[in-house]
Symmetry: C2
Subunit: 204 residues, 2 copies
């Protein structure tokens, strides 16, 4: 089918755009760079997308589509583990390709929201979705008696705030010996203290 082939090409273009973004950064990203990464000519891109902006938005939409969706584990897994695993996928997302530099790319795209309304809408919804998912998990944990009886909405908003801070710091600062502990430990300690659980984290 032509459609399938078209979809595959679109997927290939997205991957190429992702790689080009990693290599050159948003500021220096050009159609030529994407085409080189794709191994095809520039003009081919215009058979699938109307403009450069169109390509970028398609990448963004595809990237945040699955990002931050509830992993919904089997029923015998504790809510604590489910929450923990969920947060891990946010901070160290499953490999998109070889290297998991998704956070850096996502951040570069996100900052376009400062001037671009289309981007702003998408990240507003993304944060919202994250807060709702985490709120639900905490509430389930409270009902199950696993967590202390806290204001789930408030905690979830705080967690999303921390996650965003972590992404920004992780992508824009060098490793810093002055940090008392890794940012991921800080998030887990916070949850530990707030929810009354005891997160054990695998160090990296």
């Amino acid at each position: 089918m032509t459609e399938v082939s078209g979809d595959e090409t679109r997927a290939a273009i997205r991957r190429a755009t992702f790689q080009a973004l990693r290599r050159h950064g948003y500021a220096n990203l050009s159609i030529a760079h994407i085409a080189t990464e794709l191994g095809k000519s520039k003009s081919l891109l215009y058979s699938y997308y109307e403009s450069k902006d169109d390509v970028l938005v398609a990448l963004l939409d595809h990237t945040i589509e699955g990002y931050g969706s509830d992993p919904s584990l089997s029923a015998d897994t504790s809510i604590e583990d489910t929450l923990k695993q969920f947060l891990e996928t946010l901070l160290v997302p499953p490999d998109v390709d070889e290297e998991s530099e998704l956070i850096a790319v996502l951040l570069e795209l996100r900052v376009q929201a400062v001037s671009d309304i289309a981007y702003r809408e998408r990240f507003t919804i993304l944060d919202q979705r994250l807060r709702i998912t985490i709120t639900d998990m905490i509430e389930r944990g409270i009902e199950a008696g696993e967590f202390a009886s806290v204001d789930a909405t408030r905690i979830a908003a705080h967690v999303v705030l921390i996650i965003n801070g972590m992404m920004l710091q992780q992508a824009t600062t060098a490793a810093d010996a002055s940090m008392p502990t890794g940012p991921r430990q800080m998030l887990y300690s916070y949850l530990d203290e707030t929810l009354g659980t005891n997160y054990v984290v695998d160090r990296r």
Copy 2:
């Protein structure tokens, strides 16, 4: 003196660059835009700076120079108030010009650190400085018996994490009714609970 005049021109160029950044965003910022904002010709900029990048870095250095320095209030002010006022200046910085959109500009510059080592170094140091300043304040508060006896270094790192998250959210998402409370309240509640103080915030 020619030097003084030169410094004044440099300052004017920084202000023009700041305004141009606000109006066009980092991605669309050009020498021509800066010159228009300055009310002078493009080539004049090259009498004061070697390149466009040079202009941007100069703006960055000047901006973060004063940013996050201890306000060091008079001795009769409580440490709680000093800390509170300090955090306020970070989140709603003193007017640079008319509109205080410094956070958006600072964020756009910061994200260049994803690909640019010069930027990364500067923001690593900035975060470091912030953590140290806040750690000192908390420790002074503990010594004075104003705060509970907590791990100041850890709390400070957490606060910087939250501040960075707030900046990112504030600049890249629309106002969101699903938020339980403003992000500033969330920061103050966190400090309240952690330090055992009782922050009262002026709502906006």
